[in-house]
């Protein structure tokens, strides 16, 4: 696996609480959650740059709502 570099991350209390909650519900370390967030953000960014759109879809009604990204 690729070598890793270490960084310090400063989070607000709400951010830390959100990170801890995600870590608990997803059964992942906080570091793993951050690494996943980075992957998802970059994926979203790349596909938006290609002209694609990001939607949420209601499972029952199949109604799509676009996630607006500025």
């Amino acid at each position: 696996m690729a070598d890793k570099k270490t960084m310090t991350l400063n989070l607000t209390d709400p951010e830390m609480r959100a990170l801890e909650k995600l870590s608990e519900t997803r059964d992942m370390t906080k570091t793993a959650v951050i690494r996943q967030a980075l992957r998802l953000y970059q994926l979203m960014d790349t596909r938006l740059a290609r002209g694609e759109k990001l939607f949420f879809e209601d499972e029952l009604t199949k109604e799509k709502k676009e996630v607006v990204v500025l």
Binding site: M1, A2, T31, A32, Q36, Q42, L43
Partner: protein
């Protein structure tokens, strides 16, 4: 940036094991060389099957995969990871993983992240569905182990998932994956998962 680690493949003719390299982070040149070499063998085999009137459902089901295209679309995106095994100067197998945004369906693990094995292929000269005397064995086994290691590295505790081509279903079951049935949203392919416990056993 790619990394290499030592793995072993089995020479089918003798049963002996030979050293090979697992490459994490395949580059354009490597995938191009693999695609060119594999394409020649696949095309020859498909031509032979056509002329022998073998029904299409018995053709190798992954022969049409274009690894060069898959690499072009996913290269540089962290959520995708392509690994390969190089031995005797040739790529003997490739796997493309999705490492973000895919979650377990197995009831015990529902909602937890996993590494999705999107495409996995051994070189055609290693595949018993393509050649009578395959060259190397253990290619799929090593690539599946690599996917599990990526899962551990990302904090998913070894969880992996995949949709299997019909010709590979028995192999995935033999390798300890749970068959969760056909997925109507994915060409009715059977969906398999491996739990953390199964992943630990697989790597032993």
């Amino acid at each position: 940036m790619s990394s290499r680690s030592d793995v072993f493949l089995q020479v089918k003719a003798t049963g002996e094991y030979v050293a090979a390299s697992l490459i994490d982070g395949i580059n354009e040149e490597q995938v191009g060389a693999a695609e060119t070499g594999w394409r020649e063998v696949f095309d020859a085999e498909l031509a032979r099957l056509k002329s022998a009137n073998v029904p299409p459902e018995r053709w190798p089901q992954h022969a049409h995969w274009d690894w060069r295209k898959k690499h072009a679309v996913t290269d540089g995106i962290l959520a995708y990871q392509m690994l390969g095994i190089e031995c005797e100067g040739q790529m003997q197998g490739l796997v493309l993983l999705k490492t973000a945004g895919v979650y377990c369906r197995f009831p015990d693990q529902k909602g937890r992240g996993l590494v999705y094995v999107w495409f996995l292929s051994t070189a055609p000269w290693n595949s018993p569905t393509v050649v009578t005397n395959p060259r190397f064995g253990q290619v799929g086994t090593v690539l599946l182990a690599a996917a599990i290691q990526v899962s551990f590295d990302l904090g998913f505790n070894g969880r992996i998932g995949l949709h299997s081509l019909p010709q590979s279903e028995v192999w995935y079951e033999k390798n300890g994956m749970v068959n969760l049935g056909k997925d109507a949203e994915c060409h009715n392919l059977r969906y398999f998962e491996m739990t953390p416990q199964q992943a630990e056993r697989y790597l032993r």
